[in-house]
């Protein structure tokens, strides 16, 4: 497990008064952040303790959250870490969403990004340290102002306490702003935690229940115009001709401009823009992708697996020799289709360009990309781009992409108007970037003692990393000419095709069990489809293949699924523990006649999860009644949010397991909206019970690890119900 190792000394401390406030910079890169102005808005009389904390004279504690809030609860989680050491109840804080600044870099990424279930593990110590340093400074200021020793003082929820008398932190900010903040104030021992690990509500629940939380689509600025793009049905196809005459005459239409992805229609309202866009007639070029159907993908992947010619991944021992010693051998192929993320908030961005400056409002997982991209599109200096983060109406990886922002900047530049560019739901479902389709092959061998001895696996499909890199490159190198961007992107694609496996393509396919002989091969097969991270990334498909095979070979070897998993995970007591707890739960369950229990376990984002699905099959329909989830994510900072993320991961994964299927016909996605790209609804949603393993070790990922085990857990239950091994997603009985 990769540990978060951020030296306390690498926090940069600098106190500064801005607009009556004090700022303490906080840099995890070890570099000075003086090149950029501190990003926290000045407030009259406020003390800005660091990039995260500002205390106002009325004792309001403002918390600027560095990670994007897309529902995963990171705002509450980070406020909890800060509040634990600052001694302020997170629910009493005034929570703000941080702008873009290097002080807000993700310590695990070295840039300002949110993803990979990284936020809590990345910030567990740094956020607490920021809180502890700030609290110490307030105590020093209070000791000075009150003329007492530091040892005479304590704190209690935003107040300094002296001999039973409570003084708001706000009383001491004037003095605090003149002191130098400590770098390494002592952190609390875990047994003194009052917020971490305790049941608590969310800091954003009230705004999100009253319609007052602001999402990108809610941004409203003077003279805002709305853009919708008429897009190629086949990804990447260029337009040959466009007839925009009818659209130009539609109510509210002000501009129609060419953009890289098609024709942008600009109107005074989004509704008018969509009405006019439907009148635009475009003839698109035919591309290689125009000849691709879903069946083509699968056939091409199968041919690549059969040819056996791929890039070698991890290779340990000698799988061929080991199969000769195995008493039970099984081999099977597993299919996972293209998927759309479909966050509830369609993709959108607001860009306003005024002379050499620009403002951007959008909810985005990668704020680091905003300035470079808008600089490139609008031909203005990066440092003149101001970014305003909003809440994200769902992320799931989709909001780590920036095409919509490039389009918004392009249209704003061309029209000279402030633009909100919106992707319709149809755009969202049809245009990608998609979760790649995959065909995975696993051959496994077990010896007489029940020991897994060999695991030979291969995956064929497109690669996520170079595809995502391609979309981010224009932002990373705003000064690089388009043809060079294209060249670098192509080189990275070639690299993963010929020289190295993309970790995202095979992660989770082979790591979780103790077999001494392992071979992993990757066959890159690209058809020109835009691909990117989708919740749990590679694990979203590899867990299905791996855990289906584990179940199948255990059954073939005549060993029950719990014993087999325990026997073959002896190198990981933590993994064994979640299997054991899930197994005990399963043994204790009494289910109605016709209901069956299936199990799966998967390790992802440093977290171990085992799930039990209670399933029935009625008239050929798979119905999931209950899911029991056992998770070891280290120290649960907010246990209720851990539960909600497991619930959410399970339901997102169950939607994919039962319904998720994007199909290509002549290169175009057939599905278009929620009537044919079906989502799990409340009446289909199972009861979910989450068991969190009590742990004092450092936190690990939570946003994604609940998802991977659900599809195989359901498939394994369906086998018990019907005797059919379903090896294609979505799960359908024949």
């Amino acid at each position: 497990m990769k540990s978060v190792n951020v030296s306390r000394r690498r926090f940069l401390q600098s106190s500064a008064v801005t607009g009556g406030g004090l700022v303490v910079g906080f840099s995890l890169s070890g570099c000075s952040s003086t090149a950029l102005p501190l990003p926290v808005a000045a407030a009259e009389g406020a003390w800005t303790a660091n990039a995260f904390v500002q205390i106002l004279p009325d004792n309001t504690v403002r918390f600027y959250t560095a990670r994007a809030e897309m529902g995963q609860g990171v705002t509450t989680g980070l406020a909890t870490l800060l509040g634990e050491e600052l001694d302020v109840n997170p629910l009493d804080m005034d929570v703000r969403l941080a702008s873009a600044h290097e002080d807000y870099n993700n310590p695990l990424f070295g840039m300002q990004g949110t993803g990979g279930s990284s936020s809590t593990r990345a910030h567990f110590l740094p956020m607490r340290q920021a809180g502890a340093n700030t609290r110490l400074l307030i105590l020093q200021a209070a000791a000075s102002d009150l003329g007492v020793e530091l040892a005479d003082l304590s704190t209690d929820n935003g107040h300094v306490v002296l001999a039973g008398q409570r003084y708001p932190y706000g009383d001491f900010i004037e003095s605090a702003s003149r002191l130098t903040i400590a770098a390494d104030a002592a952190l609390k021992p875990a047994d003194q935690f009052q917020y971490i690990g305790r049941e608590s509500r969310r800091v954003d629940a009230i705004s999100k229940s009253t319609g007052t939380a602001e999402f990108g689509l809610d941004i409203d600025i003077p003279d805002l115009h709305y853009a919708v793009v008429v897009r190629a049905p086949v990804a990447g196809a260029k337009k040959l001709t466009a007839d925009t005459a009818a659209a130009r005459g539609m109510p509210g239409v002000t501009d129609i401009v060419d953009v890289a992805s098609g024709v942008a229609v600009v109107a005074e309202s989004f509704w008018q823009a969509t009405q006019a866009a439907s009148k635009v007639q475009v003839e698109w070029e035919e591309t290689a992708l125009s000849r691709v159907d879903t069946a083509t993908l699968r056939a091409d992947y199968a041919a690549a697996l059969d040819a056996g010619d791929g890039v070698e991944g991890p290779d340990e021992g000698d799988v061929q020799a080991a199969f000769a010693t195995a008493s039970t051998v099984r081999e099977a192929d597993y299919w996972a289709p293209l998927l759309s993320h479909s966050p509830m908030e369609p993709m959108n961005a607001v860009v306003r360009i005024q002379g050499e400056e620009a403002d951007v409002w959008t909810g985005i997982q990668f704020p680091f990309a905003v300035a470079g991209l808008v600089s490139r599109m609008a031909d203005i200096p990066s440092e003149n781009v101001r970014f305003h983060q909003t809440y994200l109406g769902g992320g799931f990886g989709r909001r780590g992409t920036i095409t919509h922002l490039a389009e918004a900047a392009d249209v704003a530049k061309q029209t000279g108007k402030p633009i909100q560019l919106v992707w319709t739901r149809e755009d969202d479902i049809r245009q990608g970037p998609f979760r790649p389709a995959s065909l995975m092959r696993i051959k496994a061998g077990v010896d007489e003692s029940g020991q897994l001895v060999a695991w030979d696996t291969a995956r064929a499909g497109g690669n996520i990393s170079p595809n995502t890199f391609r979309t981010l490159l224009p932002a990373l190198y705003p000064w690089l000419a388009d043809f060079l961007v294209e060249g670098v992107a192509n080189a990275s694609e070639m690299f993963f095709e010929n020289f190295s496996t993309d970790e995202s393509s095979t992660e989770g396919l082979f790591e979780d069990y103790d077999q001494p002989n392992t071979r992993v091969t990757h066959m890159t097969v690209e058809h020109g489809l835009p691909l990117t991270f989708w919740r749990a990334v590679g694990h979203s498909y590899t867990a299905f293949a791996k855990e289906s095979m584990i179940d199948e070979i255990a059954q073939a070897a005549g060993i029950d699924e719990v014993t087999f998993r325990l026997q073959n995970t002896q190198s990981s007591p933590r993994r064994q523990n979640v299997i054991r707890i899930a197994g005990e739960r399963m043994a204790g369950m009494t289910v109605p006649e016709g209901h069956h229990l299936g199990m799966a376990m998967h390790h992802s984002f440093s977290t171990d999860v085992a799930e039990i699905a209670e399933v029935s099959v009625e008239n050929g329909q798979i119905r999931v009644h209950k899911v029991t989830c056992v998770v070891d994510c280290g120290q649960a900072v907010n246990p209720d949010i851990v539960r909600s993320q497991m619930e959410g991961g399970i339901i997102y994964g169950l939607t994919a397991a039962l319904y998720g299927d994007l199909n290509l016909e002549a290169g175009a996605v057939k599905e278009s909206n929620f009537h044919d790209y079906r989502m799990l609804r409340m009446n289909e949603s199972p009861e979910i019970e989450v068991v969190i393993v009590d742990s004092g070790t450092e936190p690990t990922g939570v946003g994604e690890p609940g998802l991977p085990p659900i599809a195989p857990a359901v498939a394994n239950a369906v086998f018990k119900a019907t005797g059919q091994r379903l090896r294609s997603l979505p799960l359908k009985l024949t």
Partner: protein, 164 residues
């Protein structure tokens, strides 16, 4: 000119009569709590009350609500004066990304107005027009049940909330 009641006040607009109610409320009346999710009446993010019934407003032309009474999430309750369902949403930590929750709460409020003691199946039936991609369904259900279990208090608070 089309007139209707919006959160208790009579309003009028000369916007094109075919414009969906959702966009009139968001663009002309600047109430941004009701959301655009699909534009086809399939997800429920745009749900408002029209004469007390939960309606998908992204496919409801403004002409269809002339003379009717519209309640949006902003009219149901405010952060300082929460509707019991909104309080339950906080209590049960229902929202994740939060984008669909205005629609969820409006659908739930219409259900409880019509049926203060819904069964689990009643809740499923009333709520299955509203999609939540974050998977908040178990908590939405629990929150609705918590309010319905205290139906008398709900009635008193809801009527106060509706007229506030």
């Amino acid at each position: 000119m089309i007139s209707f009641t919006l959160n208790g006040e009579t309003v009028s607009t000369d916007i094109d009569a075919s414009t969906p109610l959702l966009w009139v409320i968001r663009d002309a009346f600047k109430l941004k709590g009701s959301k655009f999710g699909c534009g086809a009446g399939l997800c429920g993010a745009c749900t408002m009350h029209v004469d007390g019934a939960a309606i998908k407003t992204c496919v409801t032309p403004i002409a269809a609500v002339a003379g009717k009474s519209i309640t949006t999430i902003e009219g149901l309750g405010t952060p300082d004066d929460l509707h019991p369902l909104q309080a339950a949403w906080h209590e049960y930590a229902v929202p994740q990304c939060g984008y669909c929750q205005s629609g969820q709460i409006m659908a739930a409020a219409a259900l409880l107005d019509a049926n203060p003691n819904p069964s689990g199946a009643d809740i499923d039936a009333a709520m299955s027009g509203n999609i939540c991609r974050c998977g908040c369904y178990p908590r939405i259900k629990r929150a609705i049940q918590s309010v319905s279990e205290n139906a008398l208090a709900y009635d008193a608070m809801a009527s106060a909330g509706e007229t506030a």
